[in-house]
Symmetry: C2
Subunit: 237 residues, 2 copies
Amino acid sequence: MVTTGTGSGVTSGRRRPRRPRGSLNPEAIVAAALRVTDAEGIGALTFEALGRELGAHPTAIYRHFRDKDELLRALTDRLNEEAQLDGLPTTDDWRADLRRIAAAIHRAFLAHPAIGQLVPARTAAREHEFVTVEYIVSCMRRAGLPDAEAAACYRVFADFVLSYAGMDAALAALAPQTREAELLTWDVDYRRLPTDRFPHAAALSVHFPRLDDPANFALAVDLMIEAVAARAAARAG
Amino acid sequence: MVTTGTGSGVTSGRRRPRRPRGSLNPEAIVAAALRVTDAEGIGALTFEALGRELGAHPTAIYRHFRDKDELLRALTDRLNEEAQLDGLPTTDDWRADLRRIAAAIHRAFLAHPAIGQLVPARTAAREHEFVTVEYIVSCMRRAGLPDAEAAACYRVFADFVLSYAGMDAALAALAPQTREAELLTWDVDYRRLPTDRFPHAAALSVHFPRLDDPANFALAVDLMIEAVAARAAARAG
DNA sequence: ACCTGAACACCGTTCAAGT
DNA sequence: ACCTGAACACCGTTCAAGT
């Protein structure tokens, strides 16, 4: 829900009242930006719209963020924070722990798809990223992998989760009618592939899961975890 | 290398000669757009710059593409085409075949990172995509998976490759100094993590592979393939 | 110290007028 | 049928002037 600054039904030419000192801060700006992008997408995130949402002058935001890119980085870090909000207990089952953090990241990205789609392109080293790194590295060590291989598997698992979740977010961020058109393409075009040129795809097209089926991400995560477990077993055996 | 339209050293105010009829076509425009983005990044792809590269009026492009989004879709399809350029032989080793197509896509994305980073967000069903789908589905069937599971594994493997390669492209697309700063962050900040709060990450940080190490993608692909093989073996056994 | 108003540069898109 | 010139709307950013 996007609220106007004052809510009073003044004529559009009327001056907005000056905001009190210090009422504008990075957290409030990030929260407002998230409301704007959740409601209207990344394309609607302009300084004009953000100022309206905050009840502040559009350029007042430059007091707290050097430019739009710095604001976007803050928004992506906010998503990392939200992924950890429910808490991430470490149990005695490293596989379940990996599934838990993957699901938490995927959930946060789909809750704010306009921002989630931006994350893979931005590897900002911020406070809330460190916690995720620690959690995944811990899982890889408990799996029984030697240090160098645990580090390599951490990097691969973390980047796989970020990039796949970001792609799912990009699909979810499309305007509803555009997204439906994409999904329809798969349902229609792919089921009409000529059997002579595309025999395998034509034969299996009825089984293709929908692009936005959450089972896709879950299966990808499971495959990754099984492969890590197999490597750990090979080291131990 | 970005060439000017005519190459003649005319003064900037001089009118450019009218282009002959039909000399402008989608292929020429896509090729010119790829030259611009390869040399100066996605931010430099404006109608103004593209017109300059083509020696044509900026708005002449609207004759062949409805808007900028349609041009970008054509560019992403061009990357799919390029990934298949070397030819994709089907051998009797489905694992090697999956590695081959994954590497071909990764290579094409990194050859044109500014466009590669856009692909995961755009699931355009175009001619050159169908070929990739057929190839991967064929591998999954030869692995011995039953139809429904082969279809699910195709979807997951294809989207995993696209999203991971797109993320690698996004890093490669950064301006050199920005990219170096990102990589330095990992080399410096992560090796100074406080041991009390981040014991596992601090212990393994010296082993973290570089973000732009091509071995990361190769390892991710291998893990996926091993997991698919294990599932196929479980079905057979 | 912080906020506001105005101006500037840039870019996608449209369209009537040309050839 | 195709291309060109000009105009329009929009947006990020800067900065001098206000409180």
